[in-house]
């Protein structure tokens, strides 16, 4: 998978880490930076936390703006924030896509006009489809995804998808999606989207 990304998306930079604690922060709306993988918990910035219990070596691709070019010049695919996967790159390894939104109030998060549950899920679905179309990941590979409001998620994550969307997305797109702020990496084969 690393080779495929490097070959097809040469602008992408893949970071590696075997830290037992991994923190993913989107600095875009904080200081204009990009999506970063950190090994120590950032101060004053909320993050998505991955607990790497063994730990295993993982690969991280944080997407910059317009990171997924299409065949049409100047047109880019919808995208989420990043993808994380074991550096071993075996067919049985898990793959995790992450979409975050930094907002400080529940009103914004649940505003029907924003339609964040669908919007965020669609960002994930589009990214996964892009990776499948480009054969970066196999067509039938089931992947994991997190939608996260790092500043709010503890308050309402269990209510975010309420209408059977999780099962529909799993069935239609082979993506196991959860609104959460964390995951537990158990091995190359196993990752649990949990509520730690």
């Amino acid at each position: 998978m690393i080779d495929k990304i490097t070959e097809l998306l040469p602008d992408h930079t893949i970071s590696m880490s075997a830290s037992p604690d991994l923190y993913i922060v989107d600095f875009k709306n904080i200081n204009g930076g990009g999506v970063e993988l950190l090994e120590t918990e950032p101060v004053d910035v909320k993050s998505v936390y991955l607990k790497n219990i063994q730990p295993i070596k993982i690969a991280f691709d944080g997407f910059k703006d317009n990171a997924l070019p299409t065949d049409v010049a100047g047109v880019h695919n919808k995208q989420c924030e990043c993808v994380v996967f074991p550096a071993s790159c075996k067919a049985t390894d898990w793959i995790l896509f992450i979409e975050t939104k930094y907002t400080n109030d529940l009103r914004t998060a649940f505003d029907e006009n924003n339609d964040y549950p669908n919007y965020m899920a669609n960002q994930i679905i589009a990214t996964v489809e892009y990776f499948r179309t480009k054969n970066i990941i196999p067509q039938k590979k089931r992947v994991h995804a997190i939608v996260s409001f790092p500043t709010l998620i503890d308050e309402f994550s269990s209510y975010f998808f309420q209408g059977g969307e999780v099962e529909e997305i799993l069935q239609n797109h082979r993506i196991l999606i959860r609104a959460t702020n964390s995951a537990l990496i158990k091995s190359e084969k196993r990752i649990t989207l949990n509520s730690i």
Binding site: R142, E155, F156, S157, Y159, L170, R178, L193, N194, S195
Partner: protein, 413 residues
């Protein structure tokens, strides 16, 4: 003393201070009780132990202030009455309950209890205390319970109250059970408990669903002890009258001695008259209910909470309510009652009446909600919103959902 306005002209907020250390599952509890108190927590976390101590202290305070002495055995009136296992107490055990009128404590190192009066006992109002145990269903299913009145514990005490209450309901004056379309009445001749279902179909309570068997005694006692109980004239025994007379005489002597005169001032006379009334009749009810949600569908749990809060809060009397629960639905419903109070001014009256909770809205300042876990207690109210923290509900939900997501990994949809 905080004075908060609600439906009653003035509500004197009960802020009794309770400290418990090393009793049963409880390691350390330090809280101030409120008008409504809700204790949430896993099984065997100490919720009932805590409410039994509250119940005991309120009872001991009442006996001490009305009788002038307190010569009851702790082991009999606390341990046996509330069925507390002796292993729950050790040399490290301790509790202290401090109300407006008394300080009651127990020290495990000496196995002694202590009750002290505070200076202002003239203002004490007699209250009715009721403990509605989790085992309440038995009154619904076992016939002719009257003949079993032979032990002295909280279940039998509840039984006495149940018998007292049910006589007030007859075919002419039935008791609606929430909005379930079911009405209760009692037939005195054969001590029969009847439920009318679908307007004209009668069934015996002992043959009703477990939910009705659980909720009927609860609804009845709340309905009766929050309202009709106070309209009935109750004769004082000679002993009770004597105790009140002796108390008033003693206070009269104290007041006249203080003033250096043989007669009381008008103001003192008023206070003494008021004290006599305060001690002659019950003024409000302290309800303690274990697991009101028992056997009830979530919507019925919600309606039960609305009923309870409406009866307690929208009364001219200063009733209090203390609950133990395992059910998040109880907390969801309570949250609606508290949030409704907070937003009511922003709602048009027609929108208000559309909301099922609108008769039950309550100032969050009158409500304490705690979680007991691993021997300690913490408030689960959000300080900013005054309601139960969504984080708490989320935690409960996610604890269950974690396993679902784990298994979804393997589901073929």
């Amino acid at each position: 003393m905080d004075i908060i306005s609600c439906k009653s002209p003035l509500y004197i907020k009960e802020m009794s201070h309770l400290i418990i250390k090393n009793i049963g599952p409880i390691d350390d509890v330090d809280i101030r009780l409120n008008k409504i108190n809700v204790f949430m927590g896993p099984q065997s976390s100490g919720k009932s132990t805590l409410t039994k101590i509250i119940s005991y202290c309120r009872w001991a305070e009442k006996r001490y202030l009305l009788d002038g002495t307190f010569n009851y055995e702790f082991s009999e009136q606390f341990m046996n009455f509330h069925r507390i296992d002796e292993n729950y107490l050790s040399a490290d055990s301790y509790f202290k309950y401090e109300s407006e009128f008394t300080i009651i404590s127990y020290d495990g190192s000496t196995k002694q209890q202590s009750i002290k009066k505070k200076q202002n006992d003239l203002g004490y109002q007699k209250s009715k205390n009721i403990y509605i145990p989790a085992e309440r269903n038995f009154v619904s299913v076992i016939p002719n319970l009257g003949k079993y009145k032979e032990t002295n514990d909280n279940i039998m005490s509840f039984l006495y109250d149940w018998y007292d209450a049910k006589k007030r309901y007859s075919k002419k004056k039935t008791l609606p059970i929430l909005n379930l379309g079911v009405n209760y009445y009692h037939i005195d001749e054969n001590d029969a408990d009847i439920l009318t279902i679908k307007k004209d179909k009668d069934i015996s309570l002992k043959n009703a669903s477990s939910g009705l068997q659980s909720v009927t005694p609860l609804i009845m006692l709340i309905d009766y002890l929050s309202d009709d109980f106070y309209t009935e004239k109750k004769a004082l025994s000679v002993d009770e009258s004597n105790k009140i007379r002796m108390f008033i005489e003693k206070k009269f002597d104290e007041l006249t001695k203080k003033n250096g005169k043989d007669i009381a001032s008008d103001e003192d006379e008023d206070a003494l008259m008021k004290a006599m009334v305060n001690r002659s009749e019950d003024h409000y009810t302290n309800f303690i209910i274990e697991e009101p949600e028992q056997n009830l569908f979530p919507e019925t749990q919600r309606d039960l909470v609305y009923f309870l809060i409406q009866k307690i809060n929208h009364s001219e009397r200063n009733h209090t309510l203390t609950l133990t629960t395992h059910s998040p639905y109880i907390l969801y419903a309570l949250n609606n009652c508290m949030l409704g109070y907070g937003v009511k001014d922003a709602l048009d009256s027609d929108i208000q009446t559309e909301l099922l909770s609108h008769q039950s809205w309550i100032n969050p300042d009158l409500v304490g909600v705690w979680e007991i876990e691993n021997g300690t207690i913490k408030s689960i109210k959000n300080e900013k919103t005054g309601t139960v923290s969504k984080h708490y509900f989320n935690k409960i939900m996610n604890d269950v959902m974690d396993e679902y997501y784990e298994m979804l990994n393997y589901a073929e949809l």
